[in-house]
């Protein structure tokens, strides 16, 4: 119980520190959003309109950094995330809610699939050491995971989407689709998701396989596993309920962590596949100096990662009592 309270307290302090950093990072960047907008639309805004734009975005008025900081904290706690500048005048929360399900859906699901399949393959290949599975799969996927992600993505598009025409070239769904819960829309979404998901899974699965395999091998060599075998327990039971449970520890903590990084990790996927998610929105927000959107996305990432850390610590403590002991 005390452990839980300590971790929670920890989480809150880290959250506050990260929020403060997230407030200052955008403001350290040179220029301001109005100039960024002028630059983007240099064909269509009369150059002397800079002050009009600054007025529209509320940057002209001079507010002390301290009062802006407290206003930011207050607004954030109330859920008021402001109006996006690059998507002016749509509010930030609207833009985020539109994109969130796509990032979570694609990258989140792909991570889960990669983890489950990779861990299972790792466990099995460790159990059947020296077998064909162990000789082929782990090294192959290790090598594939060393490929740069975006390069694999571009090749996949060129081969499967353009040359073979099996899958759509880009997007989360086709242009003419109507966003509603019908089988045709769901099917459309799945067709668009297969290629990016496939690319994510094959480039990340190597890591899961290796982690699980190596830990599994170590665990299998331990005395209690020999004891279980001697006692006559079925191999299945030993694999999944005794050895597997203990071997999974590092994988689980790693998995919890990687869930936290789903959003920032999505940047390259979304860039290459034109996927309507948050990662690319973050990159654009930074390049356009869209303070409100940037801060909201940083907040989201911060909360996600810290929660992931918290969960991973809890999971570690539950599964490995040794980490709970204080000296």
């Amino acid at each position: 119980m005390r452990f839980l309270v300590r971790r929670l307290g920890f989480l809150l302090v880290a959250l506050w520190a990260a929020l403060t950093l997230n407030f200052f990072i955008p403001r350290l960047m040179p220029g301001n959003p109005a100039e960024a907008m002028m630059a983007r639309f240099r064909g269509h805004v009369n150059p002397s309109a800079l002050s009009a734009l600054e007025a529209a975005f509320g940057i002209g008025k001079h507010q002390s950094l301290i009062s802006a900081y407290f206003q930011y904290l207050g607004n954030t706690l109330h859920g008021n995330l402001g109006i996006s500048i690059s998507y002016f005048p749509i509010p930030v929360s609207t833009m985020i809610m539109r994109a969130l399900p796509w990032s979570l859906g694609l990258v989140g699901l792909s991570t889960v699939i990669g983890f489950l399949v990779g861990t299972a393959v790792g466990a099995v290949s460790a159990w059947r050491r020296g077998g064909k599975l162990d000789a082929v799969l782990p090294p192959t996927f290790i090598v594939i995971s060393a490929f740069p992600y975006f390069w694999v993505g571009l090749l996949a598009i060129r081969l499967f989407a353009v040359t073979l025409n099996w899958f759509p070239i880009l997007g989360g769904y086709s242009e003419t689709a109507v966003e509603m819960w019908s089988w045709s829309f769901v099917g459309d979404v799945l067709m668009h998701a297969i290629l990016p998901a496939f690319t994510i899974v094959i480039t990340s699965i190597g890591g899961w396989i290796l982690t699980m395999r190596n830990n599994m091998i170590t665990v299998v060599a331990e005395d209690y596993v020999k004891m279980a075998r001697a006692k006559g327990l079925t191999p299945q039971r030993i694999l999944w309920q005794y050895a597997g449970r203990n071997a999974m520890l590092p994988s689980l903590t790693g998995f919890a962590m990687s869930l936290g990084f789903v959003i920032s990790g999505a940047i390259l996927v979304e860039y290459v596949f034109n996927y309507p998610g948050l990662g690319f929105m973050l990159l654009q927000a930074v390049q356009n100096e869209d303070y409100p959107l940037m801060q909201a996305l940083f907040l989201l990432i911060t909360v996600a990662v810290l929660l992931a850390i918290f969960v991973s610590d809890i999971v570690t403590a539950v599964l490995d009592p040794r980490t709970r002991v204080r000296s």
Partner: protein, 557 residues
């Protein structure tokens, strides 16, 4: 155990793939059947690097390109490719009076808003006074020169200028979209209203918007009979250039505004009728910081101008798509009639490395042992910055740096991220900056952006244009004299004098001519602007031009 486990895995995978395939079939069927019912839709290829926000407020630069011209119209159409030729649009006629300080428009009768209500002069007066009430909406800064706008009689609107500003005709008549009073007077804050269902007088109504695609349908009650014939228009959102170009190459999009490397093999050869035309519209120039040594020495600037082989920069950096610019600042062939022969003959071809070296020597510079020019122990060492996000501009400055190095000027290219670059350019924190102004329907607009001292600002404060900090009271007076006249002859003479300034003082060094990116298939739709009929700018990011072009397109299949 092993077989059961593996079997389970394989079975799951099979079910997933199979169900996906089954579910996908209805999607394929439904989308194709929707298209086959009526005319083939026109799909556009315009990469903006972002998803659509589905806001259509015509006064906000982030959303106006998607409603101005197609849904909202302006008083007149001003053609930037024909030196500002005026075609009546919502106004049937206009007249200057009172020493060019009053402009009266006669408003066309018989026009309806897309919700059925009648359009009138009252809407025009309302629109302009709305801009006065909410300055954040006045992105063209028309109220910096207007004194009053009022309806006169049943069908006229009178604009009184506080100071003669004839060039502002382009902004007042050609850039301000007219909005319906009966709807906008009910909006509490038009600055932050997204206007998700725009109602206008134009040929196209926004019918469906998702972050990935905007769809417009032709206005069945459009006031121009025989126009807005194409029924459905789609503009998908693209996050990167490559995916957008793939759409053009595979024929999924028929009208694009893309930079396509090696366009012949990538696009033209792929399908019969694939064509492109890149009309030059403004200059991409080196802006020397005139407040910084040694760029404050005209000899150094002249040497830089002669040292650069503009044709080379064009061929290698831009695949030859952007023609070399001229030091006199006139974009040809678009504005060829404005070129002053005196200025042109002074410059010659514009490339003369021997002359560059002799100019520097005459100014007291000597070549050091390392091959670089120096004076009083100080070497000419310059950095060229440009927008790191534009790979073609990056290539351009790398080529230019090499050519300057060959002549004996030590130049280094730097490519900061976009926002850093613009912040530095606006604040004057650079030595040489490679950038472009927006220009306008005649060469005057760009030159005024370059040379008018009031556009500028002290080093450290953001200037919206005139980033090189050029300051000449004589030139200011010359520029102001253009504002009071409507005579084409006077205008041309003033521009000739400005060209002379360009070739004697080298305040800005134009390198290449910026073009509108434009590719289309001529066998699927007709009516596009062409070299022989440049009736509007063809880029999909020009408002109101692209809406104007859309009104004129006709399907051929």
């Amino acid at each position: 155990m092993r077989n059961k486990f593996k079997g389970g895995l394989v079975a799951t995978a099979f079910v997933l793939v199979a169900s996906t395939g089954v579910m996908a079939i209805p999607a394929v069927v439904s989308s194709s059947s929707a298209g086959a019912a009526t005319q083939v839709p026109l799909n556009l290829a315009n990469e903006q690097g972002e998803l659509w926000s589905c806001a259509f407020n015509p006064f906000v630069p982030t959303s106006s390109p998607y409603s101005v011209g197609l849904t909202y119209e302006t008083l007149d159409f001003v053609d930037s490719l024909q030196s500002g030729k005026v075609t009546p649009w919502l106004a049937s006629a206009y007249a200057w009076s009172n020493n060019n300080q009053t402009l009266t428009f006669t408003i066309r009768p018989g026009v309806k808003w897309s919700d059925g209500k009648p359009f009138s002069a009252a809407d025009v007066a309302y629109t302009f006074n709305l801009l006065k009430k909410f300055p954040a909406l006045d992105v063209n800064a028309v109220w910096s020169v207007l004194k009053s706008v009022a309806q006169k009689g049943s069908n006229q609107v009178v604009f009184n200028f506080s100071t003669p500003a004839v060039p502002y005709f382009y902004y007042v008549a050609g850039q301000v979209p007219i909005v319906p009073e009966h709807l906008w007077s009910k909006i509490k804050n038009p600055v932050t209203d997204a206007i998700s269902n725009p109602v206008g007088t134009g040929g196209y109504i926004m019918s469906h918007c998702t972050p990935q695609n905007i769809q417009w349908t032709a206005n069945a009650n459009y006031w121009q009979k025989g126009k807005a014939v194409v029924q459905t228009v789609n503009m998908p959102a693209f996050l990167s250039n490559n995916t957008c170009n793939e759409y053009l190459a595979t024929g999924q999009s028929q009208w694009g505004s893309q930079f396509i490397p090696d366009i012949k093999s990538y696009y033209v050869d792929k399908k019969a009728g694939n064509t492109y035309w890149f009309p030059p519209v403004a200059n991409v120039s080196l802006f020397p910081n005139l407040k910084v040594a040694p760029l404050n020495n005209v000899a150094v600037r002249e040497a830089i101008s002669y040292a650069i082989n503009r044709q080379d920069v064009s061929t290698k950096g831009e695949f030859g798509y952007e023609p070399p610019a001229s030091q006199d600042g006139i974009v040809t062939p678009t504005f060829s009639s404005w070129t002053s022969s005196a200025a042109a003959s002074k410059i010659g071809t514009g490339y003369d490395p021997a002359k560059a070296e002799s100019v520097l020597k005459a100014a007291g510079y000597t070549k050091g042992s390392n091959g670089f020019f120096e004076k009083d122990g100080k070497e000419i060492k310059l950095s060229i910055i440009t927008n790191g996000g534009y790979s073609d501009w990056v290539a351009d400055i790398q080529i230019m740096a090499q050519e300057l190095n060959k002549v004996g000027i030590d130049a280094t290219p730097e490519t900061p991220a976009a926002n850093t670059f613009y912040a530095d350019v606006y604040a004057g924190k650079y030595q040489l900056a490679y950038n472009a102004e927006s220009g306008g329907p005649t060469p005057f607009y760009e030159m005024r952006q370059w040379l008018y001292s009031k556009n500028s600002a002290p080093i450290g404060t953001a200037a919206s244009s005139n980033w090189e900090r050029y300051d000449s009271p004589a030139v200011d007076t010359l520029l102001n004299s253009y504002d009071v006249t409507t005579s084409a002859a006077t205008q041309k003479s003033i521009v000739s004098q400005l060209e002379n300034v360009m070739v004697t003082q080298y305040p800005v060094i134009p390198i290449l001519e910026e073009v509108d990116w434009f590719q289309y298939n001529s066998k699927e739709f007709s009516g596009y602007p062409t070299k022989t009929n440049p009736y509007a700018q063809p880029g999909l990011y020009n408002e109101p031009d692209w809406g104007y072009v859309l009104d004129n397109l006709k399907p051929l299949s």
